[in-house]
């Protein structure tokens, strides 16, 4: 059972000029275990091994691993049209926002027809972050981008002299986001993307140095029980995702997403294929997930 069957999950990658957004896009294209479409500002910066390129046209590159790369040169709408018409259909859309864009505003498009927003990922430069935030011209832009993040990638940690200062700054600007460290933007994609987590069938499957557990049940869950679940999660747990039916509106399948300390519930856009019952998966550092993590859900019934 796929969550959101037929919908493309959307990840927005933001961050100021030079933080490493394109490097992250290149990393995603190399590591993807699903069919990913990326929309990028500049093809020239996309660094793909020639052997992986299946075909290329003026504004599209198809890779042998099923991923595609679309240029944003003709605008967002035009790029989205070519992504949507691509077959076989990508399961995930990664949008690279421009260096001054508010990734939150770009993410608003992630709820459009056929799309389901997953998370806003903001890449930051561990070397320049503090200086950028203090800059009278761009400080507010950088801070607003960080504020919009569900996931922050603190990049270039190998080059940074004062990682603690950068961490402190990020904690001040957005204490709720999931923080991932990286050099050369090499991040475990399971931290960025929700879909893979839900797909794991083994309730204690290993994902890198992380572990995950799942919850499955049939009775609709009272909203208060879900809130209690979130309330009782150990602080190390950064990611929960799945589909639930709420006791208050049992006829609508809802997507539940928790990233960092932010969580949301939204209706599953594809109602026709919506699954019955509840299915949630939690991910956290190895050893951080209590066996009874989902007790609140059962006691609510």
């Amino acid at each position: 059972m796929e969550p959101s069957e037929g919908l493309m999950e959307v990840s927005v990658i933001g961050g100021y000029l030079g933080a490493g957004k394109t490097t992250l896009v290149n990393h995603i294209l190399r590591q993807a275990s699903e069919r990913v479409a990326v929309m990028v500002n500049d093809f020239g910066e996309i660094n793909i091994d020639q052997a992986l390129i299946d075909s290329r046209s003026e504004n599209t590159i198809s890779l042998t691993n099923g991923c595609i790369c679309c240029s944003l040169v003709d605008g967002f709408v035009s790029a989205l049209e070519s992504v949507m018409s691509f077959r076989p259909k990508p399961t995930r859309l990664v949008i690279e926002a421009s260096g001054v864009a508010d990734p939150g505003a770009v993410a608003a498009y992630g709820h459009g027809p056929g799309l389901a927003l997953d998370a806003v990922v903001v890449v930051t430069d561990a070397v320049r972050l503090c200086e950028q935030v203090a800059d009278p011209l761009i400080g507010q832009t950088v801070a607003s981008q960080i504020d919009a993040a569900d996931v922050i990638v603190l990049n270039k940690i190998d080059l940074a002299d004062n990682l603690i200062a950068a961490k402190t700054e990020l904690a001040r600007l957005n204490p709720d986001a999931l923080l991932a460290y990286a050099s050369h933007a090499e991040v475990n994609l399971d931290l960025l993307f929700g879909r893979e987590i839900v797909r794991k069938s083994d309730p204690t499957s290993q994902v890198g140095t992380f572990e995950s557990r799942s919850h499955e049940s049939t009775q609709p869950i009272p909203r208060a029980a879900l809130e209690a679940l979130v309330e009782n999660l150990p602080p190390e747990i950064q990611r929960v995702k799945g589909i639930v039916r709420l006791a208050e509106a049992p006829h609508v399948a809802m997507v539940f997403q928790l990233v960092g300390r932010n969580w949301e519930l939204r209706a599953l856009a594809d109602r026709k294929n919506s699954p019955d019952g509840n299915r949630l998966v939690v991910i956290g550092p190895k050893g951080s997930i209590p066996m009874q993590w989902d007790d609140a859900l059962s006691s609510g019934n």
């Binding site: 001054v100 505003a105 709820h111 459009g112 761009i138 856009a269």
Partner: protein
């Protein structure tokens, strides 16, 4: 134009804007150019002529040059108008303002009856809820017009739209729609208001229809008709047309090649801020150079590149220096938005500058203006070049120190004087406060510091009309009737220069247009009254007969 015959027009008065011969009574035209200006006797020296007394009771001026508008001004007239103020359409018909929700509904019901295809979306534009007192217009009002046809009403701000229930049904907009900007009532049901592009684009065939209309041939024609109706003979479409889109160049050529097309158009290449972070390649440079060198015709001109650096003052998105905004809305981050990373601007400007192009950069706030001025200075240090005419567009909060620096660097300004009338009261009370509002759109400072400047409407943001725009610069009256910043008022003569010769200068066309003198193109604004004779407060009320473009007359309000 191979026509060798000479036509001499006489007029009640000819205002030439040529300081060496400021006024005359006759002007001779051969082909599309001015053969001479003076008396009929003077002009007879050029041989046989046909005397036209068509304009003997009119005032002739150089055709106005509007250096900052958008072809969208023509596209919106594909759809009915439901704004608050009366507004004339390109055919010259005045659409009365809709001053209540009931009148908006009546106007739309009337238009709905005219649509034959029951599935066609009814699109309208110009709604400005700030002016409509009482309840806010929402889906239930539009449902009175139709429950089976989708309706999309685009607001004047360009940031909002209101749709009816059928549009929501067809677009799958309901209480569960998570998109930010889908406004919901207390019960959680969407009320029909869609805020910002992501939400507006959910309404199928609504938002997109405006984009489609903008690229249509008819929009290009209506744009020029609107210009003609207010005496404008040259319009600059600043960065709206996507020249990389197949067929757009050809569509402009086709329109402007038609002898009946009533305007010259400067189509500026929009710098596509794709956010490209590579330093060495800027594909827009070669496009702009090729257009300038290979595609120009008498009525279609290139050579200008448009950049957008910040947002708008009334939207609290312009980058303004400390102490920033007086009363920003709750949750506002304190200052506006950058649309290009400031540290990239010098490289971007340099790439166009070195190719000999002229850069026009949208800078509403003074902080944005400073970043652009500094970028021009860097470009000049890297690549010295005289007479580049790089222009600060909007230039609303530019300071005296900045005007001095602009003068030293050879820069021009295009000042958004219409703001004083349309939003001046709000600027004083809410955005930048009394002192800065009194000094905004500072034409007198630009004049004093020796910066060549024009003034503009940014149509369709405010209606095109250079007599109105000149009136704003001369009188600085706001909508409430107060004089905002009397020290920044300029003379009628200076305002007319800003609307003609100095606008042509920043488009690099002053060798061809902007004044009436031998050798220049025969482009006239034909006015019913003399701008120097009426009182300055009446400048905006002078009726416009029409224009002459390259010797061909175009009557205001005609097809």
């Amino acid at each position: 134009m191979g026509d060798a015959s000479v036509k001499i027009f006489t007029a009640k008065r000819i205002i030439t804007m040529n300081p060496a011969l400021p006024f005359a009574e006759a002007i001779a035209v051969r082909g599309d150019r001015i053969l001479g200006v003076g008396t009929v006797e003077d002009l007879a020296q050029w041989g046989d002529y046909e005397l036209s007394e068509q304009f003997k009771d009119h005032i002739l001026m150089p055709g106005f040059v509007e250096a900052h508008t958008h072809v969208l001004a023509g596209a919106v007239w594909e759809f009915p108008y439901v704004g608050f103020y009366d507004r004339a359409d390109p055919a010259g018909r005045t659409w009365l303002g809709c001053q209540t929700i009931a009148s908006v509904v009546d106007r739309l019901a009337e238009c709905e009856r005219d649509l034959s295809d029951p599935d066609q979306t009814l699109v309208a534009w110009g709604l400005d809820p700030i002016f409509l007192t009482g309840e806010r217009l929402v889906a239930k009002h539009l449902d009175q017009i139709s429950t089976t046809r989708p309706i999309f009403v685009f607001h004047a701000s360009g940031h909002l739209a209101t749709v009816n229930s059928e549009m929501m049904r067809r677009s799958g907009i309901d209480r569960h729609t998570p998109t930010p900007g889908v406004a919901k009532d207390v019960d959680g049901e969407p009320n029909g208001e869609l805020q910002e592009p992501a939400a507006m684009s959910l309404a199928q065939d609504g938002f997109a229809a405006i984009g489609v209309a903008m690229m249509s041939p008819n929009a290009k024609w209506n744009y020029a008709r609107e210009a003609r109706n207010c005496g404008v003979t040259t319009i600059a479409d600043l960065g709206t047309t996507r020249l990389t889109m197949e067929g757009q160049l050809e569509a402009w050529r086709q329109a402007t090649d038609d002898p009946n097309y009533p305007a010259r158009v400067v189509v500026a290449v929009g710098h596509s801020d794709s956010g490209s972070e590579s330093k060495d390649s800027n594909p827009m440079v070669s496009l702009a150079v090729r257009l300038r060198d290979e595609e120009e015709t008498a009525k279609l001109r290139f050579g200008i590149v448009k950049l957008v650096l910040d947002g708008s003052i009334q939207g609290f998105t312009a980058r303004i220096s400390w102490p920033h905004y007086v009363k920003p809305p709750p949750g506002h981050p304190g200052n506006g938005l950058w649309l290009i990373p400031p540290e990239q601007l010098a490289d971007i400007v340099s790439s166009y500058h070195e190719a000999g192009l002229t850069v026009h950069c949208h800078c509403n706030g003074d902080e944005a203006a400073q970043v652009f001025i500094d970028a021009v200075e860097t470009a000049l240090q890297r690549h010295p070049r005289w007479d580049h005419r790089h222009t600060v567009q909007h230039c609303q909060l530019t300071t005296t120190a900045q005007y001095k620096q602009m003068a030293a660097l050879g820069m021009n300004a295009n000042i958004f004087s219409n703001h004083i009338f349309h939003w001046g009261d709000q600027h004083a009370s809410t955005t930048v406060g009394e002192e800065r509002a009194a000094g905004m759109d500072a034409c007198a400072t630009a004049e004093r510091e020796g910066v060549k400047f024009s003034v503009h409407s940014d149509a369709p943001i405010t209606p095109m009309g250079h007599l109105h725009t000149a009136w704003c610069a001369v009188n600085r009256l706001t909508a409430s009737g107060r004089v905002l910043g009397p020290e920044e008022r300029i003379s009628v003569a200076k305002a007319l220069e800003a609307c003609t010769l100095d606008a042509a200068h920043q488009l690099r066309l002053d060798h061809d247009i902007g004044s009436l003198e031998a050798g220049k193109l025969a482009d006239f604004a034909v006015l019913e009254e003399d701008p120097f004779e009426v009182s300055p407060e009446e400048l905006k009320d002078i009726p416009v007969w029409g224009t002459v473009v390259g010797g061909t007359s175009h009557v205001a309000g005609s097809k």
